[in-house]
């Protein structure tokens, strides 16, 4: 694979003032760069200028943040968010969505193309990039659809889209139903480049399903989406990618069978990457007994505990290299209806780190370094270098208080929508400040009051 691009070479962000910061005595953890220790993190001219001996950095002209006891991580990268623009700005737009990302410690996100109309032309990409330069708090890249209008029939002008700046391609929200169209897209990838991100689902098997098919769907009388709806499509596309020696990225894995197929494909040398979403890593279909669509209705659906365990194992062994929120904002009126009628999707950008820290790290299921690594793992599959705190690199920092307890939603959301899957939960660990592309993208209000200068 070709050289990885720097974040801001490919993504767009509103340009502002470069931060000049000293995060004094921060516990710095960047597992990929092999950094784990207390340092003064000096951010200057858009870069991590220095990791200085604690208390000894030159603070002249810098804003000093007393970070003793706080953790500085490479900021996170989310390869799967829905910014809902154009067409559904009542749910989210570039400005609110990237503010939510910044609040979650992210320095980069990739926006899906299933908007209204879908992002299918070079002009669509150009308009979105313009919006990002005008109002994005963190760098954002845009995917274009694989097929025109997401109709699954004809390929988009993928070369022109790439030239216009499309980071990759996805019909996310819908699967590419036709194996023939899928094969053509993979062939064409040799010409246009760009990864193809896949929402894997066989609509014939999903039918009218609204939750995982199993004992809980049997108990509550909701139509089920079987695991094989996902896994058979993952298997199909892994085989097609192998055949064409093409690159694919499998989105939001939810079923144990799918994890096993990706694992086997990787072992066989297929260029396949995979993501899992925080809600699938924390929740199971037992939640759906509440029939609460705000928090528990999404596609793919929450599955069994054994599926959740398989996803965690996939995270551990690298079968799943990244965590992606599939941040899917919806307004209240689309969720304040019976479960079957409610829109699919939950938001997650503002809570991903805190939720996974609380639910997976604190109980000892995975360690902190793995979580940080996987929260940055979504960049490389799209040809982008992962954020790092190695001196000299572009400054992308998430400063977190791992002991802070907070209740999700009590202070509202940066997102325009409120359908967070962990709404109302009390989480431990909170992002206090985010530096993205060298600029301060977010400060928790309560925290900024306490900043020394």
């Amino acid at each position: 694979m070709s050289e990885l691009a720097a974040l801001t070479d490919v993504l767009d962000v509103r340009t502002g003032e470069d931060a000049h910061l000293v995060l004094r005595r921060a516990s710095v953890l960047d597992p990929v760069a092999g950094i784990d220790g207390v340092h003064d993190v000096v951010v200057r001219d858009g870069r991590v200028a220095e990791l200085a001996t604690p208390g000894e950095a030159d603070t002249d002209g810098a804003e000093v943040v007393e970070a003793e006891g706080l953790h500085a991580f490479p900021a996170f990268f989310d390869p799967h968010v829905h910014l809902r623009t154009p067409g559904h700005e009542h749910k989210e737009d570039v400005e609110t969505g990237t503010r939510a990302a910044a609040a979650g410690g992210y320095c980069g996100v990739l926006a899906m193309a299933n908007t209204q109309p879908p992002v299918s032309t070079a002009a669509d990409i150009a308009a979105l990039r313009e919006q990002a330069r005008a109002g994005a708090s963190v760098p954002v890249g845009f995917l274009a659809t694989v097929t025109k209008g997401m109709r699954g029939e004809e390929l988009t002008e993928m070369v022109e889209l790439r030239e216009a700046g499309a980071v990759g391609f996805s019909d996310d929200g819908l699967p590419i139903r036709s194996a023939r169209v899928m094969l053509r897209a993979l062939q064409y990838q040799r010409l246009c480049g760009g990864n193809i991100a896949l929402h894997e689902e066989d609509p014939e098997l999903s039918g009218e399903g609204v939750m995982h098919e199993g004992p809980v769907s049997a108990a509550v009388g909701l139509a089920g989406i079987p695991s094989v709806s996902e896994s058979t499509m993952v298997a199909r596309d892994a085989a097609l990618a192998a055949y064409e020696e093409a690159r694919i990225h499998v989105q939001h894995l939810s079923a144990a069978e799918s994890v096993e197929i990706v694992r086997a494909a990787k072992a066989a040398g297929v260029q396949i990457s995979a993501e899992a979403s925080p809600h699938h890593l924390v929740l199971t279909d037992e939640e759906v007994r509440s029939l609460d669509p705000h928090r528990f209705k999404m596609n793919p659906p929450l599955r069994r505990e054994s599926d959740r365990q398989a996803l965690i194992e996939g995270l551990r062994d690298g079968t799943i290299e990244c965590i992606a929120t599939d941040h899917a904002p919806h307004q209240a009126e689309e969720k304040e209806v019976p479960f079957e009628q409610a829109a699919m999707g939950v938001t997650g950008l503002e809570t991903a780190f805190a939720a996974l820290h609380t639910e997976l790290v604190l109980p000892g299921t995975i360690d902190l370094a793995l979580l940080v690594e996987r929260l940055g793992g979504g960049a490389a599959p799209f040809g982008i270098a992962r954020p790092t705190l190695a001196p000299g690199s572009e400054a992308n920092v998430a400063l977190c208080d791992l002991g802070a307890e907070w209740t999700v939603g009590e202070d509202g959301y940066e997102s325009r929508s409120q359908n967070a899957w962990c709404a109302g939960r009390t989480l431990t660990g909170r992002v206090l400040m985010t530096v993205a592309a060298g600029q301060v993208a977010f400060r928790l209000r309560a925290f900024s009051l306490g900043v020394a200068s």
Binding site: P215, G221, L222, V337, P338
Partner: protein, 323 residues
């Protein structure tokens, strides 16, 4: 009990209390004047988003027998037709300050949502394929009258379990009352994982003789086009309950409306072991009991003229007799 949303929410004791109350209303039904003043001056709204004959008529008559004012709203011909959301419709009807809203809706969880939007007691009269608690209560009532108790009774629920809210509510209710339940039907119409609810699963009527009660479900025409069964003919040949498959000691039940000649043979329907007509009669008194328990039960202030709740000795008082 503040609402009746799901059988799942009721303990065996709560079920028994409703059935005991229904018994006392059955006695009222045998009098010349079948009306009691319990809910005089209070309003019951029925809100039906799906067609219904038995459930809507029996809830309406139940409310009238209890002297409530009744507003019945059907989705067709109401502002629901004009695109009003469920939430807005409930807000509108709540402005009349109803004591109870009885709702049937094509989607699971609708009654539960409505209960969060109104101060009225909410009765789930069927929500999607989720639950139909009043049906389960009337079925338990009917069986209890026949058998005395359901403890240890072997009940087979036969047919399209996948699409049936009655199957789900009855499975829970029968088990809660101590019965042993088997669900039976073609594999395409039995939901995956249902055995985790504690029932047995069978795909054949071979062992039907083990059952003391056979509860047949309605088989809908459209299931064929969705490939659940190849034909109604084959379904009937394999799963129809007829007088050859039924032995004379077994009781036969069905929630109605029956597809004669599909899930049940005409002979079976009209046989003396069929409780189908009795189920309909039970529907009225059980629904009176549900409204009574919700609106005049112990947790709510007694409306004037109501008999004291819970007291076994006091039966509801007909109008014209000293209270």
């Amino acid at each position: 009990m503040n609402h009746l949303l799901s059988i799942e929410d009721l303990s065996r004791e709560e079920i028994e209390a409703i059935l005991d109350r229904a018994e006392s209303f059955a006695e009222v039904g045998r009098r010349d004047i079948k009306k009691v003043p319990t809910l005089r001056g209070r309003t019951v709204v029925t809100l039906f988003y799906e067609s219904s004959t038995r459930t809507s008529s029996s809830f309406e008559l139940a409310a009238k027998r209890l002297s409530a004012d009744l507003v019945s709203v059907k989705a067709a011909g109401s502002s629901v037709d004009k695109g009003e959301s469920l939430k807005d419709t409930v807000a509108t009807l709540s402005a009349y300050d109803p004591a109870a809203i009885v709702i049937r809706h094509p989607y699971a969880g609708a009654a539960q949502m409505v209960s969060r939007w109104t101060s009225a007691a909410v009765v789930n009269a069927g929500d999607g394929k989720h639950e139909h608690p009043s049906q389960a209560l009337l079925d338990v009532y009917t069986l209890r009258r026949r058998l005395g108790s359901l403890e240890g009774t072997r009940i087979w629920i036969v047919g399209d379990v996948l699409h049936s809210r009655v199957a789900r509510s009855n499975l829970i209710a029968f088990q809660r009352m101590g019965a042993e339940v088997t669900v039976c039907g073609p594999p395409t119409l039995i939901p995956r994982g249902i055995e985790e609810l504690g029932c047995e699963v069978s795909h054949s009527l071979e062992r039907l003789g083990e059952a003391e009660v056979v509860y047949a479900l309605r088989m809908q025409q459209e299931r064929m086009s969705e490939s659940f069964v190849p034909s109604l003919r084959e379904y009937a040949a394999t799963f129809q309950i007829d007088t050859r498959r039924l032995n004379p000691r077994q009781l036969l039940m069905h929630p109605g409306p029956v597809n004669r000649g599909v899930e049940l043979s005409g002979e079976a329907i009209d046989s003396p072991q069929s409780l189908i007509a009795e189920q309909v009669a039970s529907g009225l008194v059980v629904r009176m009991a549900i409204l009574y328990e919700l609106l005049a039960g112990a947790e709510r202030p007694d409306p004037e003229g109501a008999p004291s709740p819970g007291g076994g000795e006091s039966s509801p008082t007909p109008i014209g007799q000293p209270a």
